[in-house]
């Protein structure tokens, strides 16, 4: 089965940045979960860019929740950036839009971290 999700990572200022695009569903969840937990290993704080996400279901949300909780335990920063409308709708539905820290752009996230 062809992968419908793409994952990329880089540095954004002092933080680690992880970009997701495509369908973050049950099929992609194990891959996304591993990438998120790996990115948190550096304990530099993580910005998750969701601009390219076209679809997310509860298993995708669960990955974000697990990453969020891991970051909290580490005492490192965790924020979502450029949350695409379909993702925002799901986060609202899960009442998580007020739990996660959301930024419109990476620049805003970098500015907001100070």
């Amino acid at each position: 089965m062809r992968d419908r999700v793409e994952i990329s990572t880089r540095k954004a200022g002092e933080y680690d940045w992880l970009g997701l695009s495509g369908d973050v569903d049950m099929h992609a969840a194990p891959q996304v979960r591993k990438a998120l937990l790996d990115a948190l290993q550096g304990k530099n704080g993580l910005l998750v860019d969701l601009a390219g996400v076209s679809y997310m279901d509860s298993s995708g949300v669960a990955c974000l929740v697990e990453a969020f909780q891991t970051a909290r335990r580490q005492g490192s920063r965790f924020a979502l950036v450029a949350v695409a409308p379909p993702v925002l709708a799901v986060l609202r539905l899960a009442r998580l839009d007020k739990v996660f820290t959301l930024y419109a752009t990476v620049d805003e996230a970098l500015a907001g971290g100070r």
């Binding site: 279901d57 539905l93 009442r95 739990v99």
Partner: protein
């Protein structure tokens, strides 16, 4: 010793040869009257007589009519009363009559001689019969030689001839009857074909379907349905009293009236009353029609129906319970001026079944009567299939064992057909395809884009549950996705063979726990207008229904 003594051996051989050739003529005959005329001429010359004739009994056995003759006078078509004269005596007694001098025989009437001017001196007459059934007689008159008269040899030969002629006439009549039978069979086939043409076939995706199986060639049952310009569908099902051709003719009349009046009269109670008046005015005494008719509005899922003396239609609700709709008035054609009250019902995910008593009184393979409970059991067992398959299952049950139907069998169902019905492998890799397929099926049903996204997400979550919890990620498993529109509601059914699910499984955990998992059920509840586990159809262990309201 005269040459006419046919009992002697050399002559007997000649007789047999001659009889054989006569028999062959009959066997090869294409036209019986012509062959008989030919035969009678041969008989006249072979027996050396002045006249020969064949008289046949009419079907009422009251008269004898000359069918073929040879001699000086043509008496074909001449009729004498059965029992009259020497011919009549031969026929009624079944015995050959040898009268050497007619003047000395009291039964000789001389009526034919008086009519024709012929002078009869002697008569030899043999009855024509097959297996004791009287057909008529073969008669020869006056030996040609002036000094000669009939003897025992002539009598034996004429009796042998009578046997050949009797068989030929009998065979010709059988062949005629066969031709007539064949013509009637063709007529019946044509009648059946015309009758079938009166019963419409459902186009794919049409919400009304029906079947009709006649017990005889033609049926007294009927169904019909057609759309109105306003989007409603008019439907009807009826049963004419009696069976066979007279019932079939009244059926044809009723269905034609229904179609014609149904397109003009928007009020179905009024329509039924009009039908009743028309049929009561002209139907044969003692014939009547029981009928249910109504409308179905696909946009709202509303059914209106009215029942004239017919057995109650059954509504099978989506939870598997049943409701009946009893007759609001007497059958059609009994009394003019009746009024009928219509009832309205919502299908609401259920299906309406209308049927004739040939169904409930039909026999199963073991000879037991199907009955209402048996019919419901078949509907229940095939609740997961489409309505046409449910009707076919009933027909199969009543035809099991190749038994001939006792009565015409007719069923009609009103059930919105699925917009989507597909099986998928139960694995996470297929979810993208499930979402795309569902989205495509939802295109054009009148659901806003946002709501489409919501329903797709809810169904996606339910599929995840099946893969994760139902099958515990086991390989080679499948689930089935069905979608249909029911009035103002969209219904999604997910069917699987997984671990039996319970309603408790649909209770979400507290969201405050903020744990991964448990969100799916919350999503399903939030994004739909109802989720419920329903009794699964045969072959499945779970049936989850997700409903989504279509906003006006």
């Amino acid at each position: 010793m005269t040459s006419s003594n046919h009992s002697l051996t050399p002559d007997a051989a000649g007789d047999i040869q001659w009889l054989a050739s006569l028999s062959q003529d009959f066997a090869a005959s294409l036209s019986m009257p012509e062959t008989l005329d030919n035969a009678i001429a041969q008989i006249m010359s072979y027996l050396e007589v002045e006249a020969a004739s064949i008289f046949l009994l009419d079907p009422g056995e009251a008269t004898l009519t000359c069918l073929a003759c040879a001699g000086a006078v043509d008496i074909r078509g001449l009729t004498v009363a059965n029992g009259q004269g020497i011919v009549g005596r031969a026929v009624s007694s079944g015995q050959s009559q040898l009268v050497r001098d007619v003047a000395a025989d009291g039964d000789f009437s001389g009526a034919i001689d008086a009519l024709t001017g012929f002078r009869t001196r002697s008569i030899l007459c043999a009855p024509l019969q097959v297996k004791g059934r009287k057909l008529g007689a073969l008669e020869v008159i006056n030996k040609r030689a002036a000094d000669a008269n009939f003897d025992a040899g002539d009598c034996q030969l004429l009796q042998a001839l009578a046997g050949v002629v009797s068989l030929a006439i009998h065979n010709a009549r059988m062949a005629e009857a066969l031709v007539e039978q064949e013509r009637m069979r063709r007529d019946l086939d044509l009648a059946r074909e015309i009758q079938r043409g009166l019963l419409p076939q459902s186009p794919p995706g049409f919400p009304v379907c029906a079947i009709n199986l006649p017990a005889l060639e033609v049926s007294g049952d009927f169904y019909d349905f057609f759309p109105l310009p306003d989007g409603r569908i008019v439907w009807g099902l009826g049963d004419v009293s009696g069976k066979g051709m007279n019932a079939a003719l009244l059926m044809a009349k009723t269905i034609s009236l229904f179609r014609c009046l149904g397109k003009r009269e928007p009020d179905i109670g009024r329509l039924l009353a009009d039908l009743n008046d028309e049929i009561a005015e002209t139907a044969l005494f003692g014939m009547f029609v029981t009928m249910v008719l109504g409308t179905y509005e696909p946009a709202s899922g509303a059914v209106r129906l009215v029942n004239a003396g017919h057995q109650p239609p059954l509504l099978r609700r989506r939870d598997g319970s049943y409701a009946e709709f009893a007759a609001a008035g007497p059958p059609l054609g009994v009394l003019p001026g009746m009024s009928y009250e219509a009832v309205t019902l919502q299908l609401d995910g259920g299906r309406l079944f209308v049927f004739t008593d040939g169904v409930t009184e039909g026999l199963r393979e073991d000879g037991s009567m199907l009955g209402l409970a048996g019919l419901q059991a078949i509907f229940d067992a095939h609740a997961g299939a489409d309505a046409a398959a449910q009707l076919a299952a009933v027909a199969d049950t009543l035809q099991a064992g190749g038994r001939r139907l006792r009565d015409d069998l007719t069923l009609l169902a009103i059930a919105p057909p699925p917009l989507l019905d597909r099986e998928f492998p139960a694995e996470s890799g297929v979810l993208a395809e499930v979402r795309a397929t569902l989205e495509a099926a939802l295109n054009g049903v009148g659901l806003a884009a946002e709501a489409v996204g919501e329903l797709v997400l809810a169904v996606n979550e339910a599929c995840m549950n099946i893969i994760q919890h139902g099958y515990a990620y086991a390989e080679g498993q499948v689930f089935r996705l069905r979608l249909w529109r029911d009035g103002g509601m969209l219904q999604v059914h997910l069917l699987d063979h997984g671990r039996p699910a319970r309603l408790d499984d649909l209770c979400p955990r507290a969201l405050d726990e903020l744990r991964p998992g448990g969100l799916g059920v919350h999503f399903m509840r939030q994004l739909s207008d109802g989720i419920a586990y329903l009794p699964p159809p045969p072959g499945y262990d779970n049936l989850l229904q997700i409903s989504k309201r279509l906003k006006a």
